[in-house]
Amino acid sequence: MTAAVFFGCAFIAFGPALALYIFTIATDPLRIIFLIVGKANDGLKTINPDEPAPSMRLLAYVSGLGFGIMSGVFSFVNTLSDSLGPGTVGIHGDSPYFFLNSAFMTQVIILLHMFWGIIFFDGCEKKNWYPLLAVILTHLLVSALTFLNPQYEVSLVSAYMITVLTGIRAFFVAGGSRRSLKRYLLCQDKNFLLYSQRSR
């Protein structure tokens, strides 16, 4: 479907991940390594003894994003390369919106991986098994939703709803609260310094 569709779908699928990478990971090389490797080992500590060790939550977020990007790339790159050609899906009766829907689904998967990473790490740290089970079950649920394709309305809308719910849960797990959200939206941060140390 030519270059317009190729770039459009690539941006839809990888836009959020790219934005997250540019602003949160690219600034710190250590985070890039966590992104790729997925876990740190002692060697890294010896290389950079002066830098404060990253927190568990940051590790969770970075590794979740890393897995999400890997999964997104592996599942979508093949489809993207076919979108460069002159033809679109449909000659055998499939839906002509195949590329758009694949792109949105990939975006959903990447975001979900990031949220799952945060929830899963937190569950493991607090030795709480219910979040782990929830992560695994929602993962299976979202994958099973793709069986409903090509009824894209059902599968995509449900996947987005699950993403929003998981996102909210991850927000709370990562340390957010209704109060911090209110403070953020009202641009208040003076009181914050009284409560806790900043930790990176």
Binding site: G15, I22, K45, I91, H113, G176, S199
Partner: protein
């Protein structure tokens, strides 16, 4: 996929997940992986392209752009449908799917005139063949390379007297800037038409709605302008480049020849040794590449000559005949006499065992399968007969032919009343070099009887070769058709005439061609090459040359020897040679064997028939005089790529030739997708920046100083 989550507690979970994952992969494999490409494209496998051919001054044929030409499909079944393509249609360029009967000069002129609206053309084969005849060749084949020119017989030059191929519209010699493909399979044509009916038909005159069904044709040709240009570029490449990019190849192959009495091929004949030459052509062509059924234009004549050779070799006193007989099958005669001009060139320079002065007389077989009222016409050259001695020799030749034909009532030999030029024939090239007495035998007195000369419709049907249905291929192989009987009669006449011309007297009327051989040859070359007889006469490594099903195509091509050349050589060896008791090693190298001489004979180790169990072959060694001799135009030997004396035909090289159909989306949908993509990217960047800038407000860290469990 949240597999190894990083915590030790998740190890059990991860192993379970791994099992689940492998199960899912297995399931996916069982369901059959559905590649996205298969959802989009339907490849068209049974197509034949039109490629670019070049000669000294021009390029002919078709060509596409390097990344293929795409167009919305429009089916043209009557001439009025063309209006949509040329003016009315709102989504140019169009890919026209043309009915075979509409593939005429008139329609092609219209299409050529509006190349901005035409992306390409796909022609479907007309079943049955167009009733009015169809010939994409020119009306005067091989004009300018034959005998008659403005300096020799000007009243006959450029077919002033007779337009031999009167139905020819010259399409095959035009240059098209868009690709043209032939759709050989009716099922594929129906798939395309169904896609067109489903998506491309407009409702009540309004524009059809996207997505539309489109076709893409790839046939990018590397050579341009002319042979001079492409050969120059190729030679510069091969001189200066480590990895040369050759852009075109000369059309070349091998001629097949054999002698009735074996001669020493390492030297040349004595001037007193006289030879009667009988010649025919092996090749044909059509508008499309490598599609050349050539039933009437080539196959019928060389099959007749093979049968005549078999009959003549059986005569008892062959070894004592005063004169020798040379059977030669020229390759490349379609393209300005490549084979015959090369043989004359070699003869003049002493590179061929037989020289021009050894030729006593020349008999040529041209199109002989469509005889009307049993008549077989004898054409001679009027200009050379102005010389009295030549005239008396020709007279003697014609009388001999008539005497030999007297004993075969089903063939009536006729002379021509007025002085008429020779039809396009290899004899013309020999007469250019020397005044020899020659005759060309054809089924037509003036214009061709072949209404499908050099077209895709010159098939078995054109010469009335048909088989009753419900028979197995082996039964069809041995079924003697009427055409086979008629051609066998012509072969008998030819065989007897050659015997008499060679000086034989006693056994002339015992020479009889076998209709069974003729019918088997016709079946193999026109209907199905992969039959038991062809399999048994070929060498083992040439088995694949017979293809799977279907006839052989007789286009000269650029890689040699072609299938037809090999099969004709081995058939000639089988029909005229002798089985000798040699082992495989001896057969492949007979120099060590006493009494066997590689200069006199050619030794072939052939597969042989299947044994009674049908499991193994019984190979044997055949000794014959059937040989191959190189047939490349002398223009390439001499480096005269712009020659007007010798054939300069070359074929362009290409990388990729294929065709496929798919749906295309509207430009609006594509731009919307791009806009949405940009929107998502910009939104994500903005949101992430905002969240990241105030992340310390949003996310409160836990009380314990965070430490990574490493």
């Amino acid at each position: 996929m949240a597999t190894a989550g990083g915590g030790s507690a998740a190890e059990l979970g991860s192993r379970g997940l791994l099992c689940l994952l492998s199960f899912c992969v297995l399931l996916a494999g069982l369901c059959g992986g559905n590649s996205v490409e298969r959802k989009i494209y339907i490849p068209l496998n049974k197509t034949a392209p039109c490629v670019r051919l070049l000669n000294a001054t021009h390029q002919i044929g078709c060509h596409s752009s390097i990344s293929g030409d795409t167009g919305v499909i429009h089916v043209v079944e009557k001439e009025e449908d063309l209006q949509w393509v040329l003016t009315d249609g709102p989504n140019p360029p169009y890919m026209v799917l043309l009915e075979g009967t509409l593939f005429t000069r008139k329609v092609m002129e219209k299409l050529k005139g509006s190349t901005s609206r035409i992306a390409g053309l796909a022609v479907s084969l007309a079943k049955p063949s167009p009733a009015a005849g169809f010939s994409p060749s020119v009306q005067c084949p091989n004009d300018g390379f034959g005998l008659y020119s403005n300096s020799y017989g000007p009243e006959f030059a450029h077919c002033r007297d007779i337009q031999w191929n009167y139905l020819g519209d010259g399409l095959a010699y035009e240059d098209f800037s868009f690709p043209i493909f032939l759709l050989e399979d009716e099922n594929e044509t129906n798939v395309i038409k169904q896609c067109y009916r489903d998506h491309n038909l407009s409702q009540n005159g309004s524009a059809p709605v996207f997505p539309l069904c489109a076709m893409q044709l790839f046939s990018h040709m590397h050579a341009v302008l002319s042979t001079v240009t492409c050969m120059r570029r190729s030679s510069i490449q091969s001189t200066f480049s480590i990895n040369p990019e050759i852009v075109c190849d000369p059309l070349s192959d091998y001629n097949v020849w054999s002698m009735l009495k074996p001669i020493n091929t390492s030297g040349t004949l004595e001037p007193d040794d006289k030879v009667v030459v009988v010649a025919t052509q092996l090749d044909s062509r059509s508008f499309f590449w490598n599609v050349a059924p050539g039933a009437e234009s080539a196959v019928a004549s060389f099959v007749t000559q093979l049968a005549a050779a078999e009959a003549l070799y059986k005569a008892p006193d062959v070894t004592t005949l005063p004169r020798n007989v040379m059977f030669v099958f020229f390759q490349g005669e379609t393209f300005d006499y490549i084979g015959s001009s090369r043989m004359v060139y070699d003869m003049e320079r002493g590179k061929f065992p037989v020289q021009l002065e050894n030729i006593d007389s020349f008999v040529e077989l041209r199109q002989v399968a469509l005889r009307e009222s049993l008549e077989l016409w004898m054409h001679t050259d009027p200009v050379s007969q102005k010389n009295k001695s030549v005239q008396s020799q020709v007279e003697h030749l014609l009388t001999t032919l008539e005497e030999s034909g007297a004993g075969v009532p089903t063939v009536v030999l006729r002379r021509l009343n007025q002085s008429q030029p020779l039809p396009p024939s290899s004899l013309q090239r020999f007469l250019r070099a020397r005044n020899i007495s020659g005759v060309v035998l054809t089924d037509h007195a003036t214009v061709f009887h072949n209404r499908y000369y050099h077209s895709v419709y010159d098939t078995a049907e054109n010469i009335n070769v048909s088989y009753p249905g419900q028979q197995s291929p082996e039964e069809d192989l041995d079924f003697v058709t009427d055409t086979a009987k008629a051609l066998a009669d012509v072969a008998t006449v030819l065989g007897r005439a050659l015997y008499q011309l060679a000086g034989g007297t006693n056994f002339r009327d015992t020479i009889q061609a076998d209709p069974h051989t003729v019918t088997r040859l016709l079946y193999g070359f026109l209907v199905r090459a992969n039959n038991s007889w062809f399999q048994s006469i070929l060498r083992q490594d040439l088995r694949s040359f017979l293809g799977d099903q279907g006839p052989l195509q007789h286009y000269i091509a650029v890689s040699s020897p072609t299938n037809t050349t090999y099969v004709v050589q081995y058939a000639l060896a089988n029909l005229t040679g002798k089985v000798v008791d040699l082992t495989r090693e001896q057969c492949q190298d007979p120099s060590k064997v006493p009494n066997e001489n590689k200069d006199l004979y050619e030794y072939m180790w052939v597969q042989g028939p299947l044994n009674s169990n049908g499991t193994e072959r019984l190979p044997y060694c055949v000794r014959s005089t059937a040989r191959l001799v190189r047939a490349v135009s002398p223009a390439f030997e001499l480096g005269q790529w712009g020659s007007t004396e010798y054939s300069t035909w070359t074929e362009s090289r290409w990388k990729d030739i294929r065709a496929r159909i798919f749906l295309i989306a509207s430009k609006e949908l594509e731009l919307i997708t791009l806009a949405v993509g940009f929107g998502v990217l910009v939104c994500s960047l903005v949101i992430t920046y905002c969240v990241n800038a105030k992340a310390d407000v949003l996310f409160i860290a836990p009380r314990e100083p965070g430490s990574v469990s490493l």
